[in-house]
């Protein structure tokens, strides 16, 4: 039986959630042959982090999250 790919998604999602919880926001992303490379920046600390998201669901997830953040900001 092939690996359960859901776990892979969860771990990538956790990375994104962790960063967001710590106050990072997404600043850029780039599609590559190996997935989406997403840049985060902590506006407080100016710390930058780059992660690569490979699972399709996490690649959906980060943009959904970004859209939600945008909407919150415009509210």
């Amino acid at each position: 039986m092939a690996l359960s790919s859901y776990d892979a998604f969860l771990s990538e999602k956790r990375q994104v959630d962790d960063l967001v919880k710590k106050g990072y926001i997404m600043t850029a992303s780039k599609g590559t042959l190996d997935g989406d490379v997403v840049e985060f920046e902590n506006k407080m600390t100016s710390d930058k982090k780059t992660i690569r998201l490979t699972h399709p669901d996490s690649r959906k997830y980060f943009t959904t999250l970004y859209i939600k953040q945008q909407e919150q900001m415009t509210e």
Binding site: M1, S4, Y6, K60, T63, T64, Y66, I67, K68, Q70
Partner: protein
């Protein structure tokens, strides 16, 4: 009882069923038999400078013992002189004044040729014209049929020429053997067509005889590509109709053709934008009597749904037909197996295991009975298991409560653009 009559581009028909221009409408004898059986209309076998046909013309495509899933032909347009045809059209119309007769026409894309034939035919009193710009074989070598239909400019011109003299509605019949059918549909509209009809037949070769190594059908051992029609082409036709119907700048009615063999097909075509339908292969397979269930089934369906008139179906699903990039990426469905109904053939398991996402487990319960279960977290909702499942109702594809708000590819691209332009 629901009203199943239609008014298609101004042409009134007691029901939405017309025989397509093809062998069933070759003669007055046949069309009159069809009308007696209950068909609403007939598009006469294409009139043209009469052609010559080969013998051995058709090929059938059978699927797992069920005959005529598809059908192909290397027949051309009418091989009978126009005069005879006109006489019979006249007689038929006289005998069945409430039924629709459309004359299908084909000539080279030249103004006087179109003028001549249109004028001559409308004198006998037809309810409309259909311009055959789609015949995929034999005629194209002569600069007609699809040799015209594959060029938007020629489609536009031909339509225009016909319209210049036609006093009854003109329907331009489109060929599916084209990269983008909306281009020719719009060309027809530009040419002034009152409607379009689609699809004509698709280039095909039904098979090769594995003993003689000759194409099927063959003439003295040799074959040529023919036109494919019948149930197998329905999904192709349905898409072309939907694509045209959903063009914001396309407004004329569509006569739906291609693989229709049941009242259910009819409902689907009309929902996807057809104002009426035409049928050829189903009638050739079983004869004209199929009209009985076609009309009654449609009528019972409308009654069941409480819909007063069949016209109310037209185009109702068009707004649901869109570009892939507008579909919601966050929508989630998963497969769920009803173990009560499941007969444990394990087809879903092996389909998912070999060819999808390996998430249907074959398990044994505490009583030692086999059962199957979908690991929903890993299920991508592809539908494969439910398609291969032989038992109605054994697998449901279930909408999950959306975890996230809808986001289409277009939404996502827009958001990413914002994100990247901010940086």
């Amino acid at each position: 009882m629901a009203d199943i009559s239609i008014n298609f581009a101004g042409i009134k028909s007691p029901n939405p069923y017309w025989l397509a221009s093809a062998p069933p409408t070759n003669t007055g004898y046949q069309v009159q038999r069809a009308f007696a059986a209950g068909w609403g209309g007939a598009v006469w076998k294409t009139l043209c400078e009469p052609v010559l046909n080969v013998t051995s013309r058709f090929g059938g495509y059978h699927f797992n013992g069920q005959r005529v899933a598809g059908f192909n032909n290397i027949e051309l347009v009418s091989d009978r002189p126009i005069e005879e045809n006109l006489k019979e059209i006249y007689e038929t119309k006289k005998r069945f004044p409430d039924r629709v007769i459309i004359a299908s026409l084909m000539v080279e894309p030249e103004r006087d040729k179109w003028h001549e034939i249109v004028k001559r035919v409308q004198d006998v009193g037809v309810d409309g014209f259909e311009l055959n710009l789609g015949c995929p074989h034999g005629m194209s070598e002569r600069g007609m049929g699809s040799a015209v239909g594959q060029h938007p400019d020629l489609v536009e011109k031909s339509t225009l020429y016909a319209k210049e003299v036609a006093e009854v509605p003109v329907i331009t019949k489109l060929t599916p053997n084209i990269t983008d059918i909306t281009a020719t549909a719009k060309a027809a509209q530009r040419g002034g067509a009152d409607a379009v009809s689609m699809i004509n037949t698709i280039n095909s070769l039904i098979g090769v005889d594995i003993d003689t190594w000759s194409p099927i059908p063959n003439v003295n051992g040799k074959g040529a590509h023919g036109g494919y029609c019948g149930p197998a082409v329905k999904p192709i036709a349905l898409n072309m109709i939907g694509e045209c119907a959903r063009q914001p700048d396309f407004h004329i009615p569509i006569s739906g053709i291609g693989g229709i063999s049941t009242w259910q097909d009819t409902v689907e075509f009309m929902l996807m934008g057809a104002g009426g339908v035409q049928i050829c292969t189903a009638a050739m397979h079983h004869g004209f009597s199929i009209i009985d269930d076609l009309t009654e089934g449609l009528s019972n369906y409308l009654d069941d749904k409480g819909i007063a008139s069949v016209s109310q179906l037209v185009g109702k699903s068009v707004e649901k037909y869109t570009d892939w990039s507008n579909l919601d990426l966050n929508h989630r469905i998963v497969a769920r197996i009803n173990n009560d109904i499941c007969i444990n053939c394990n087809k879903c398991h092996i389909a998912c295991e070999d060819t999808s996402h390996q998430c249907i487990d074959m398990l044994v319960d505490e009583n030692g009975n086999d059962y199957l279960k979908v690991r929903e977290d890993d299920c991508v909702g592809c539908n494969l298991c439910s398609i291969v499942c032989p038992v109605e109702g054994a697998i449901d594809m279930v909408d999950l409560e959306p975890a996230e708000p809808p986001m289409s590819w277009n939404d996502r691209q827009a958001a990413l653009q914002v994100m990247n332009s901010n940086s």
